[in-house]
Amino acid sequence: MKDDLRALLYLSPWVLGFLVFQFYPLIASLGYSFTNLNLMGTTRFIGFKNYITMFTRDPDFYQSLKVTAVYVLFSVPFKLIFALFVAVLLNMKIRGVNFFRTIYYIPSILGGSVAVSILWRILFAKDGIVNRAIAYLHIPAVDWLGSPNIAIYTLGLIIVWQFGSPMVLFLAGLKQIPSSFYEAALVDGASRPRMFFFITLPMLTPILFFNLIMQMISAFQEFTSAFVVTNGGPMKSTYLYGMKLYSEGFSHFNMGYASALSWVLFIIIFILTIVIFKTSNNWVYYEDGGNM
C-alpha cells in the first residue's frame, strides 16, 4: 500500500497535467462544439447547428477535406516508401554508417519549424533554386507553389523530407530480422529483390502498420507547412483541414465552430484507424502469430 501511494505521488505530475491540459480541454471542446462560443460575442447553446452548418452550408469544409485527403494519400505512402528506402541503405555495412544515420535524422528535428518552411518557399518559388536547377536539364520552370494543381503535392514533398522517425523504426525492424533467413535464401539462389519482397517486407509489416497509423494521423493534422509556405493558397488548393480549423478559431474567433470541426476530424481519423486495424489481419505478418 505504501508503495502504491509512493508510485501515485511520482505519477501525479503527469496525471494532473493530463487531466488539466488534455482531458479537461478535450471534454470542454466537445461541449463548446454545441455552442456559438465566439471571443467577440455572447455564448449560447445552439445544439447541432455547427455540425449542420458544416455539412450543408460551408463549401470551405468540403474543400479542406478534399485537399487533406489528397495530401494524406500522396504524402503518407511516399514518405513511408522513402523512409524504408533510406532505412535499407543505412542498414548496409558501410563505413561511417552511424554518421549517416545521424545526418539523415536531422531533417526530422528541424522539420516542423517555421524557418524551414520559409526555406521551402524560397526553394520552390518560380525563380527559386529548384527551378534554376532543373533549367540546366532543360526542363521548363514549374509553378511549384503558385499553381493550384501542383501546390498540394509540393507540400507533400516537404513532409516526405521529415522521414526520420519512421526511418528509425524501420531500421530497428530491419535489425530484428534474423540473418539465417537471408542465408537460407542465398543458399537457394534467391536474388536480392526477391529477398527484399519475400523476406524483408513481410517481416517489416508490423512496423509498417505502426508507421502507417502514426503518419496518417499526423498528416491529417498537418498545419505548419500550409500556413507558412502557402497560407492555404493559391485559391485554397492547400487549405488543409488544420488551416480551416485555425482560421475559424483564431481569425474569425468562432471557437464553437472550430471545436465542432476538430471533433469531426477526430471521428474521421478514428474511423480510418479502425479500418486500417481491421484490414491489418490480412497483410500484417507476426512471426509469433500476433499473440503477444
Partner: protein, 449 residues
C-alpha cells in the same frame, strides 16, 4: 478493493494539488492589487509593465529605444516589450490573450479592432480618468473624437496618422513613359500602368496581393461608386451585384493587361509582398498601401520614391481616400498598473526624447509637437508627411467595424483569388460574394443578439 483505494488516492492527491494551485494564484493576485496604489514613478516601488506591438524591424527598434528612454528616467519601472512581426498573427494572439485575461498592460491595437472591443464592454480602460496624467492637448481633437471616443470614453490614443497611398518608383515610371497625376481615375491607372510591362517584360506596374486587391482596389472602387459603407451598421450590404461585378472586372483587367505580375508567380509572396524578389530588385512601379508601411516598402522604390493619392472613379460619390489613425495605444482594463501605464503613454506620446526615438515608424506622428520636433531634427521622412498632406483635403468616408470584419474579408479575398487565377468571371464572382456575405452577416447578426 485495492483498486478502489488507488482511485480514491488519486482523487485526493489531485484535489489537494489543485487546491494548492488555486490558493497560490489567489494570494499572488492579492499582492498585486494591494501594491498598485501609491506613486511608483516618483518612489522606488518596483513597477513591471508589459507592452505589445506589431510591425517591421524599424518600428520594433524605435519602440524599444523609446522604452529605454523611459526606464532610464525611472529606473524603478521595467517594461518588457512583446513584439510580433506579422499583424495577422498579432491580432490572433491578442484576441486569445484578452479572452484568457493574460493581455499586456499596454497594447497597440489596429484602428479597425477598437470598435469591436469597445462593443464588448470595458476591456480597455477609459483614459479620461487619467486626464491629469495624459496630456492630449497637442492632438487634433476632432481626429480623437472621430476615432477614439466610444460612449464618451476615451479608449485609445492614436499612435500615428495613416492614409492609403500609391507609393512609386518615379525613376522606373519615368523611363517607361508613365505619367502620374494626382487626379487620376482607375482607367488612367491601367492605361498608364501597362506601359511598364510593355517597356520591359520583366517589370510590372503594381505589386499587390489578394488582400491588397480587396482592401485597396475593390473596396475603394466600390465605395467610390456607391458613396456608401460596404456594410451598414444594420448589417445591410451597401452595394449591388453590378457594382461588385464592376470591381471584379477592374481586377481582371489588371491581370489581362499585365499591370500586375501573374498570380502563379506572385502568390508565393502573398503574405509579404515586399519580400518578392522583383520588388527588392526594383522591378515594380509601385504599391498601393498604407503610408505607415513606407519604411517597409522603401527599399523597392529606388532612389527617387514618390507618392500619389489612390485613383478615384470619375464622378465618384466618395473619394474613399481614408485618413485614419495608424493604430492606437490602449490600457488593458485588467492591468494592476493602470496609472503607471498612463504615465508611460504620456511620456511615449508627449516627451520629446520619446518622439525623437519613435520617429515616423508608425506613420506621421499624431501630435503637433512630435511633427515639429521631427521636422526640426530632420528625422521624419518628408514623404510620410506628404502622404498625409496629400490625402487629408480629399479625405473620404471611413469604413465601420462591420465592413472590415475578418470573415467578410476572407470570403472576398478567396473570391478575388479566383479572379486572379482566371477561374471565375466578374459576374459569377459578384453573385458568389453577395450570397456568401449575406450568409455571414446573418450569422453575425444572430450572434450579436
Amino acid at each position: 478493493m485495492r483498486k478502489r483505494k488507488i482511485v480514491r488516492a488519486i482523487i485526493y492527491l489531485c484535489s489537494a494539488l489543485l487546491l494548492a494551485g488555486v490558493l497560490s494564484s489567489c494570494s499572488s493576485n492579492q499582492k498585486n492589487s494591494s501594491s498598485s496604489s501609491g506613486d511608483a514613478s516618483s518612489s522606488n516601488r518596483k513597477v513591471n509593465l508589459r507592452f505589445s506591438w506589431w510591425g517591421g524591424d524599424d518600428r520594433n527598434q524605435a519602440t524599444l529605444d523609446a522604452i529605454k528612454k523611459y526606464t532610464d528616467k525611472y529606473p524603478n519601472v521595467s517594461i518588457s516589450g512583446e513584439y510580433t512581426g506579422d499583424m495577422g498573427g498579432y491580432r490572433d494572439k491578442l484576441a486569445t490573450q484578452i479572452a484568457s485575461g493574460s493581455a499586456p498592460d499596454l497594447i497597440q491595437v489596429d484602428v479597425t479592432w477598437l470598435p469591436g472591443y469597445a462593443q464588448k464592454g470595458d476591456i480597455f480602460a477609459d483614459m479620461t480618468k487619467y486626464k491629469d496624467i495624459i496630456d492630449t492637448s497637442s492632438f487634433d481633437q476632432n481626429f480623437i473624437n472621430q476615432f477614439s471616443m466610444f460612449d464618451n470614453k476615451l479608449l485609445g490614443l492614436p499612435l500615428g496618422i495613416n492614409a492609403v497611398t500609391f507609393m512609386y518608383n518615379s525613376e522606373l515610371l519615368k523611363s517607361a513613359g508613365v505619367n502620374i497625376t494626382d487626379n487620376w481615375d482607375w482607367d488612367t491607372f491601367i492605361t498608364e500602368g501597362k506601359k511598364v510591362h510593355q517597356a520591359n517584360s520583366s517589370e510590372y506596374f503594381l505589386n499587390i496581393n489578394s488582400q491588397g486587391l480587396f482592401e485597396n482596389v475593390w473596396s475603394n472602387y466600390v465605395r467610390q461608386l456607391t458613396g456608401e459603407k460596404l456594410v451598414s451598421d444594420d448589417y445591410v450590404i451597401g452595394f449591388n451585384k453590378q457594382q461588385a461585378s464592376q470591381g471584379f472586372a477592374l481586377i481582371k483587367r489588371f491581370y489581362d493587361e499585365n499591370i500586375v505580375q501573374p498570380a502563379e508567380e506572385a502568390t508565393v509572396y502573398d503574405k509579404q509582398i515586399q519580400q518578392n524578389p522583383k520588388w527588392v530588385a526594383q522591378q515594380f512601379g509601385g504599391a498601393l498601401n498604407y503610408g505607415s508601411n513606407l519604411t517597409l516598402f522603401k527599399s523597392g522604390l529606388g532612389a527617387a520614391p514618390a507618392t500619389a493619392n489612390i485613383p478615384v472613379v470619375q464622378g465618384a460619390k466618395n473619394t474613399s481616400i481614408i485618413v485614419r489613425p495608424q493604430s492606437f495605444i490602449v490600457i488593458n482594463n485588467k492591468s494592476p498598473e493602470k496609472e503607471e501605464s498612463a504615465k508611460f503613454i504620456n511620456f511615449l506620446l508627449n516627451d520629446k526624447n520619446s518622439q525623437l526615438a519613435l520617429k515616423d515608424t508608425r506613420s506621421v506622428p499624431p501630435t503637433q509637437t512630435a511633427r515639429t520636433a521631427l521636422e526640426e531634427a530632420k528625422l521624419i521622412d518628408p514623404l510620410s508627411v506628404a502622404i498625409v498632406n496629400q490625402a487629408l483635403p480629399k479625405q473620404g468616408l471611413a469604413d465601420n467595424n462591420l465592413s472590415t470584419n475578418q470573415q467578410l474579408n476572407d470570403a472576398a479575398v478567396s473570391i478575388i483569388q479566383e479572379i486572379q487565377f482566371g477561374k471565375t468571371t466578374p459576374d459569377q464572382a459578384a453573385d458568389q460574394l453577395l450570397s456568401q456575405w449575406k450568409d455571414i452577416l446573418r450569422e453575425l447578426k444572430d450572434n450579436q443578439q
